[in-house]
């Protein structure tokens, strides 16, 4: 069974970046919605939530009906409401953007309805008639849980194998705490599990404790949702010094433990993606006086979301551009990073600059661990990512995949959609 997480977690100091609506604010915002036909916001949502419908239901104070509309399409509707980059998805496609009106705050409305569902303890789902079919699910993140829930609706019996002692994947140990904290992620997992009939085996690493081939033989189908591997390192000189961590690894410490950063004066995060932005904002939020994001490219061309970086700058984070780490400095503990100064085309100019730091996080990607399933016949892996069709079918008969291990690293909402759709493909396969 899952372990309880401690209450002594560094993340608890964070407040919500986007404040939740109360009833009157939610209804007022819902009343602004135009209730578009064939709405662009639905198309923009990877899980295709019927957004105008759930908003109309908030406007009529049919909050239970609203939550049902959301969960019908997206069982992780509560966390997606908080962690989705809505500015680039549903909100970004709201037609109000075309008439110089503020777009509808779909994420905040979705949060209102889904939070109510949790607070009022509404449940909407019953398992389907038992088919007797058993499905092994590798990994316990959103893709796997969404897949398991959908399989239960269809009457199948899933078993989740999770190598850690808690479920939820990055929702539990990776989401920035100003969006959602670990205890809320676990509440959501438990709420989803209420459907019953989902067996959970934590502390079991498939590939070590049990082989993929065994699962394939013992179960009627297999879903792979094991996500990404460890943070990548740069293999630079003195990278082993104390005070140098992978960003995902350190975020997990903030989420689930109480790392001591009280003596850190300057923290540097290497990278320009969303993990890098998450990391700098969290380090700043923990009270580190100087936090810098050091990136090889330009502010314009960084892969992290512009709206997230804007928020980071407002919080006092400094961006350092055109710098590529060359080596680290320090006795036992890191004291700085020596960087090569790059030109516009990311080519070395020959100049170098030392950036002082007593904490360094590497946010240069995570290992893609598709290779651990190489033994499955017919399954194709490209750059460490499992190849799937639009319904999550791999090249190996009876084996399906979704989430980061199959999409290379996307959002929770993508993982949820892929897990759900794979369950429907599994159902077809089993019938």
């Amino acid at each position: 069974m899952q372990k309880q997480i401690t209450e002594d977690r560094a993340e608890t100091v964070f407040e919500d970046f986007k404040k939740p609506y109360d009833m009157k604010a939610a209804v007022a915002e819902a009343n602004r919605c135009l209730y578009c036909e064939d709405a662009p916001c639905i198309t923009a949502c990877p899980t295709s939530i019927n957004i105008p419908e759930f908003i109309r239901r908030i406007a009529t104070e049919n909050i239970q009906g609203s939550a049902e509309t959301i969960f019908d399409s997206n069982i992780f509707g509560m966390s997606c409401a908080r962690v989705c980059p809505v500015e680039t998805l549903c909100v970004g496609d709201c037609v109000f953007n075309h008439m110089e009106q503020p777009p509808i705050q779909i994420g905040k409305l979705q949060r209102y309805a889904t939070d109510q569902a949790f607070e009022q303890d509404w449940s909407f789902f019953e398992p389907g008639a038992d088919t007797g079919k058993r499905v092994a699910i590798v990994g316990g993140g959103p893709a796997s849980i969404a897949c398991a829930h959908e399989l239960r609706l269809l009457g199948h019996s899933p078993t989740i194998f999770e190598s850690r002692d808690v479920l939820g994947g990055l929702n539990t140990w990776g989401v920035a705490p100003y969006k959602m904290k670990a205890d809320r992620a676990l509440e959501e997992v438990n709420w989803i599990m209420q459907i019953g009939g989902i067996e959970v085996k934590t502390g079991v690493t498939v590939g070590q404790d049990v082989s993929f081939d065994e699962l394939k033989n013992d179960y009627d189908a297999v879903f792979l949702g094991f996500g990404l591997g460890l943070d990548k390192f740069l293999k630079l000189e003195d990278e082993g010094l104390d005070g140098i961590y992978g960003a995902v690894e350190f975020i997990e410490k903030i989420k689930l433990e109480q790392p001591d950063v009280s003596n850190v004066q300057t923290a540097v995060v290497l990278g320009g993606g969303n993990t890098a932005i998450d990391a700098v904002r969290q380090l700043k939020g923990l009270g580190i006086p100087s936090v810098k994001m050091v990136y090889r490219g330009t502010e314009e061309r960084m892969s992290g979301y512009a709206h997230e970086w804007e928020a980071a700058k407002i919080e006092g984070i400094e961006g350092v551009w055109h710098m590529s780490p060359n080596r680290f400095f320090g006795e036992n503990t890191v004291t700085g990073v020596l960087c090569d100064v790059l030109d516009q085309d990311k080519k070395p100019t020959g100049a170098q600059q030392n950036i002082e730091a007593d904490l360094v996080l590497l946010a240069v990607g995570q290992d893609k661990q598709g290779d651990i399933v190489q033994s499955l016949p017919g399954l194709e892996i490209e750059w460490g990512v499992i190849k799937v069709d639009s319904m999550g079918r791999t090249g190996c008969d009876g084996v399906f995949a979704g989430g980061d291990c199959a999409n290379g690293a996307k959002e929770v909402v993508n993982a949820t959609a892929e897990g759900r759709d794979a369950a429907r493909a599994i159902d077809q396969y089993l019938n």
């Binding site: 209804v27 007022a28 009343n31 135009l34 209730y35 578009c36 036909e37 064939d38 709405a39 662009p40 406007a59 037609v95 109000f96 075309h98 008439m99």
Partner: protein, 423 residues
Amino acid sequence: MADLSTNCAGIKSPNPFWLASAPPANSGDQVKRAFDAGWGGAVWKTLGQPIQNVSSRFAGHGYKGNKAIGFNNIELITDRPLDVNFREITEVKKQYPDHAVIVSLMVETKEEWKDFIKRSIDTGADGLELNFGCPHGMCERGMGSAVGQEPKVNEEITSWAMEYSSIPVLVKLTPNVADIQPHGLAAQRGGADGVSLINTIKSVIGVDIDNFVMRPSVGAQSTNGGYCGSAVKPIALHMLASLARNKDFNLPISGIGGVSTWRDAVEFLLLGATSVQVCTEVMLHGYRVVEDMLTGLNNYMDKHGFKTLNDFVGKAVPSYSEWGNLDMNYETVAKIDADKCIGCYKCMVACHDGAHQCIFPSKDDSRVPVIDESECVGCNLCEIVCPVPDCITMTEVDNGFAPASWNEHVAGTGKLRPKKGAH
């Protein structure tokens, strides 16, 4: 600066905006503040034998966040002592000689009418308004709409008032009748100087769905009330226009019913009113709403070159015709301005589900809908649901047919174009 002054049935005021006989015109202090804010006149809250009111009294009809697009009340006439009312009216009139002060009356016997009219005239008031309209409470006692719904009673009591009054008399009509015209004509036969309309509409505004009691609730009970506010304007405009276009009806009209903005007021004036009375908008937002009414009306008149209200009072009355006289060959189709369209497809779903199925999705990814003009009947629905100003316009089509009405068609003198969208 246009001249906003008016003379409605011999009652003069610096502008056509009067407070209707209702809670905002309940006391001297209120009316003085209203005049200071800019109101041109006030019809005092109806005097009669003072009554006692219930709690609660008001309720709103809400839609999409607006709690009172319609409004109703179960309050009765004045509950204040008569001598206090008459003393305050006298004071107000003395202090505001150029503003119109009209005393609204509702009593039963001829003797009472005589007495109340005399005391009203003694205040120096500019006119009287006979309340033949109240549809709740007072009508159960044989007054208000109980009078206004019976042309003979209306005519008789009006004639009493005319016998006793030396100042102009308006008869306030109830809309709770099948046809307003016999009631306006009854007031005219009784000798009235003018009519005012409409009073409130008999209504049940809503039900508390968790406690199973109608609103506004008085404990576990409620009763029908009088409906007013913005939502009743179309009903008021119809009754106003019905009388204004009646060749046998010649009295001035003070327009009432849902007047909330200067635009509403202009519409009432265009359909023949020479003053407008406002209550609900003031109850919801205060006397200050008159400031925009005054500047809005003035700017409208300047824009059209109207120097006085008489330049446009009744100007839209001739446009009111019978359906049988409408030109069946006049044809419009909807056009969408692609640059303004935001791609909400509201027009498409409305046309598809609620009209004539002639708007279709864009063939490319622009989300600008495509209109099949050969099927478009020119109904306006798409233009109404479009959230973008001036994005959809109804455009006249020259179909080559000479104008022809249904009546002409029946008489064999008009040739109609082929029907559209009727297959």
